[in-house]
Structure formats: C-alpha cells, structure tokens
Amino acid sequence: MKSVYISDELHRQAKVRAAEQGKTLRDFVEEQVQRGLERKPTEVPRDVAAMKERVATYQVETPVFVEPASDDPLAALEAQGFIIRGERLRQKLDEVMMRVCQQLGVEPPQGPPPSIEEVRAILARYQQMHPEVPTLSQLVLEMREEY
C-alpha cells in the first residue's frame, strides 16, 4: 500500500461520488485509477474534455501572477491574462456593451462606435439643455467624495 496526496477539493469530490455509489473511498479511487490507466492515451472522454475546457477558462480568469521579466512586459502580462489589449479589448468591450443593451432591452449598436466628435456633440446638446447638471468630470469628483 502506498499513499498519494490529492487536493482537498478532489478528495471531497471523490468522497461524494464514492458515497453515491455505495463504495468505500479506497475502492472507488482504486477503481477510477485502474480505469484511467487502462484507457488508451488518445481516448479523451467528453466529460474530461469539458473539464479541461473549464480549467483553461479558469486559468485565464485567475492566473497566478508572475512578474514578467521580458523585453515586452505588457505582452507578458497579456499572455498571463492580466490585461487585455487590441482586438481582445475591443471584443471584451463589445461583450460589455451587449450586456448593457440586454439589461436595457435595446438593440446592440451596429458598426463602429461613435467618434469622439459625435460623443462631444451628444454631450454638448445635453449640456445646453441641462446646464445645471455637472459635467462628466465633475461627476467623477462628486462620486469620489461619496466613497
């Protein structure tokens, strides 16, 4: 008999599954390991593939931070999933806009985002109609006072 250390979470899951099947933890684990060893290396069951996908997603969302020591630190940070830039940033912002639109029940915007001039025009129009309302910059300071 030999001991193998596994994570607390894996231990918990194995214990639950063993109890579900009415087996002891030892028998269950032995059976699972045996089955895994007998499986052809190329054979990847669907549930394992799905698990791998979830792990990959988790790794992107909560990576272990390593200070990058490369010539391009931002690229290294991007590779580790700490920042998003370029096309991925645009995609992320599109996703955010999509969720905001869903909340409001309006159609998501089509085409490129309004230009800086168009943004200024919208704000200028409202500023003219509501001169008593603080500007965006003043609202930022107002919010900071409330924190």
Binding site: M97, C101, R120
Partner: protein, 166 residues
C-alpha cells in the same frame, strides 16, 4: 521613457468643452506619436468613467438608445491606451496609501498600481511618471509619493510639447 497615467477626472474632460479637455486630447495625440512615451489607464478608471456617464444619463433623463451610443463611443476612445493590471492584492496593498494620504479606495488602488507596476514591471523612475488628473486630493497624494503630476485645467495646451523635450 515617459509614462503618463490618465485618471477618470482627466479623461472625461476630453468629451466636453470644459477647461482642460484640449490639453488631454493634445496629450493623447502627442503620446501616440512619440515612441519614448506611453499612456496608461486602468479598469478602475474605465469603470469610474462608466459610472459617471450613467449618473449623467440619470440626471438628464437621457433615452437608452442615446446612452448606449454615448457609452459605446467613450469606451471606443481607449485605442492606443495601455492599461495597468489591477489585482486583488493591489486593493490590500493600497490600504496604507488610504490611511497616509486620506484618499478613497479607488484612488489608492490606482496610485498603488502606478507606483508599483510602472516602476517594477516597466522599470520607470517615479520622476518619469506623470499622473494626469483634475482631482486635487489625488494629485496631492501623488506628489507626496514622488510622482510628477499634471492638472489639465492648469496646464496650457501650448505647453504640452514641452513635456516631451529631453
């Protein structure tokens, strides 16, 4: 390497005709054309800006469709701006900045990000880092940590090129 960090109070000036907006726009343009300079912001500043836009929309009763166009345009303005990563630990490391300089949590986490990430990851010297903000308390705290500061409302547009002279 000159590093600028743009906070929400400065960035939002770019979208209106208020004092300082032209300076921020000129800064963005000049940095984009200068290989020896870079401009940063963070998700904290972006979220803060989105909150200000939402507050504005509520105050002026802006229709949803126009609000969507506005926020989409503002978020689309981020091209060419790098972002500092903000981690869970940054919020905890920022606590001493809160108690020392009496700033709020979002300012403190940004200040920590500027001081820590820009100096360690990008090897920038604090004297080469310029915080661009129109929040006097935030600017004061940054100055006390040794950073340079720029308040666009007090910095003339014509003087922007002088920032990039060796």
């Amino acid at each position: 390497m000159l590093c600028f960090y743009l906070d929400a109070s400065a960035w939002t000036k770019r979208f209106t005709n208020e004092l300082g907006g032209d300076t921020v726009s000129a800064l963005l343009q000049t940095v984009a054309a200068d290989e020896m300079a870079s401009l940063y912001t963070s998700s904290v500043a972006i979220a803060e800006t989105a909150a200000a836009v939402n507050r504005y929309r509520n105050r002026v009763n802006m229709p949803d469709s126009e609000f969507i166009a506005l926020i989409n345009g503002i978020l689309g303005d981020l091209n060419g701006v790098s972002r500092l990563p903000v981690l869970d630990s940054d919020y905890l490391d920022a606590i001493p900045l809160i108690t020392r300089y009496h700033i709020n949590s979002s300012d403190a986490v940004q200040l920590h990000g500027i001081l820590y990430r820009l100096t360690t990851i990008l090897s920038a010297q604090p004297s080469d880092i310029i915080l661009v903000s129109s929040d006097s308390r935030f600017l004061r705290a940054a100055r006390l940590t040794g950073l340079q500061t720029l308040d666009p409302t007090a910095f003339p547009l014509e003087a922007v090129p002088s920032l990039f002279e060796l």
